[in-house]
Subunit: 308 residues, 2 copies
């Protein structure tokens, strides 16, 4: 196969776009695609101060790399969760994030959950859920809270995350299977900061297949953590990803169509304004100031206050 751009030897085939690309043009094509998504969904401008949440994985480090190359002002935020899981997962992912920042002369903020709150994510989980299931919901809650807190306290205009198309399609699939109106109405490439204490959020990789991001990280020579979080094994989101991968292999492009037609339908007014009742009922948490739908304290502050 030849590179569609230069006729040289292609190293990768981008199935859904019927492209063959050499290394050089692939490393040019991916940032180009990301730039188009940023523009199409009006994510942010060159004048904005951007905070990229990085985990040490291929998606978030590649996102940081791409935004930096595209000329955006983007700093990193690493949240240390205190997860060991036999592979020293948190240590290794922090080391790789710091290494990336140092190599590129970029600023990385580090929030160490065990240091700040006196407990690691698994410790909080075992205290609050008493061993019931994996600590994923605790982790999601804590990360969301810390990302909002840091983005706001450090004065960033927008927080970006490395969610790729596979992530977004799996979440959409999960929300669709149970027709979760509020989640459907809110899901999208941009979440506006229309509530007190919450950062504006954007997902510049939302149209990029996971396999394409893996290829980008490898070809760009980004060193990232290969291991999944040890707690992710058996997660429903991974099951939905597998189901969508089956669909994708039988109907190439199905995953992208599923996500893009959803965005288009939403943009076209498919959902009624009252489809997201949660957002309308939000109020600032009296402790941390972040908007919440809960009565009184937000879920994070309740969790850290020792309630189960």
């Amino acid at each position: 196969m030849k590179c569609t751009k230069c006729g040289g030897k292609a190293v990768i085939s981008v199935l859904q776009h019927h492209l063959g690309l050499c290394k050089e043009h692939y490393l040019e094509w991916v940032p180009g695609q990301v730039a188009r998504a940023i523009q199409k969904y009006r994510m942010f401008a060159k004048t904005d101060r951007i905070l990229a949440a990085v985990s040490g994985g291929k998606d978030s480090l590649s996102l940081w790399d791409i935004l930096h190359r595209l000329g955006y002002q983007v700093d990193g935020l690493y949240i240390c969760l205190g997860i060991d899981g036999g592979v020293n997962y948190s240590n290794e992912s922090q080391r790789l994030s710091q290494q990336f920042a140092a190599q590129h002369g970029l600023t990385l903020h580090v929030v160490d959950i065990p240091q700040v709150y006196g407990e690691s994510i698994p410790q909080i989980a075992s205290r609050t859920f008493r061993g019931r299931g994996a600590p994923c919901s605790v982790c999601g809650l804590a990360k969301r809270h810390e990302m909002n807190r840091l983005a706001r306290d450090l004065g960033y205009d927008v927080l970006v995350t490395g969610h790729n198309l596979d992530d977004e399609a799996a979440v959409l699939f999960s929300n669709t299977l149970r027709w979760a109106g509020g989640f459907l109405a809110r899901q999208g490439p941009v979440l506006e900061a229309d509530q007190p204490g919450l950062a504006r959020k954007a997902k510049p990789l939302c149209r990029m297949y996971e396999r394409d991001m893996t290829a980008y990280a490898l070809l760009r020579g980004i060193e990232y953590i290969y291991d999944e979080c040890p707690y992710a094994l058996g997660a429903t989101s991974i099951y939905y990803k597998e189901l969508l991968n089956k669909l994708e292999s039988d109907q190439p492009g199905a995953k992208l169509n599923f996500y893009l037609s959803f965005l288009q339908a939403k943009e076209g007014g498919l959902f009624a304004p009252q489809a997201d009742p949660d957002r309308a009922q939000m109020h600032p948490c009296p402790s941390c100031g972040q908007s919440t739908t809960a009565e009184g304290l937000c879920s994070f502050c309740r969790m850290m206050g020792g309630e189960s």
Copy 2:
């Protein structure tokens, strides 16, 4: 396993309801479930004249059987499509429908497409699509047209079809994968006759798993056509059914939840009124009088007028 109702020997296990049932109580349970759906979705009353579209398959014949047993006034409509496919599919399905009607002393209307229109479905398909793919879209169009025509001409209050949960979930899945707003806004257990020339339609089996309907037909001793339509092989709807079956076997109840949460979200106002623009733009076809979104003649009349 014992029957949950009488303690006798169970012959079937209804997984999603955690029930074991003996033959007698299973044959009582299914009509009970159907009666609840009829009531819940306000499908029709005992005073209504009902026309059941029957194909000779397990679902439609069981539906006819159940409605008759529940005391509804229900006649049958068989549409002969002129499909042979090596198994004499149309002949055999007509014979079984007529046999069922005769055994139960019920009225069956028969519309013979080749006699009325001079061409069988495969003939129309080969003329209009010139061999491109299976004649399924031609068949769907013709059946919908004839069902509306007969229900209206013969003065029935409502037309019922044997679509089961697996059918409905597969259609919903297909509409969701491409976020087809109009189809999503319209899909449901009842379609009101709010447009000229279109019959009121209801699907009393919409909450019944296909496997439960097969068991009903077998235990009730209904003789039905086992063969799928020879053209259905490889149809996308069958592919989606298989995907949903995989989901169901990994997460029992997922199929029912998917469909019921959709109906609930819709009822709760998830979709905006403008989500179904097609329905607002309908007008009666100048030839047959059935409402259509097409300019001028409806798709059926155009097809029969020789356009391709």
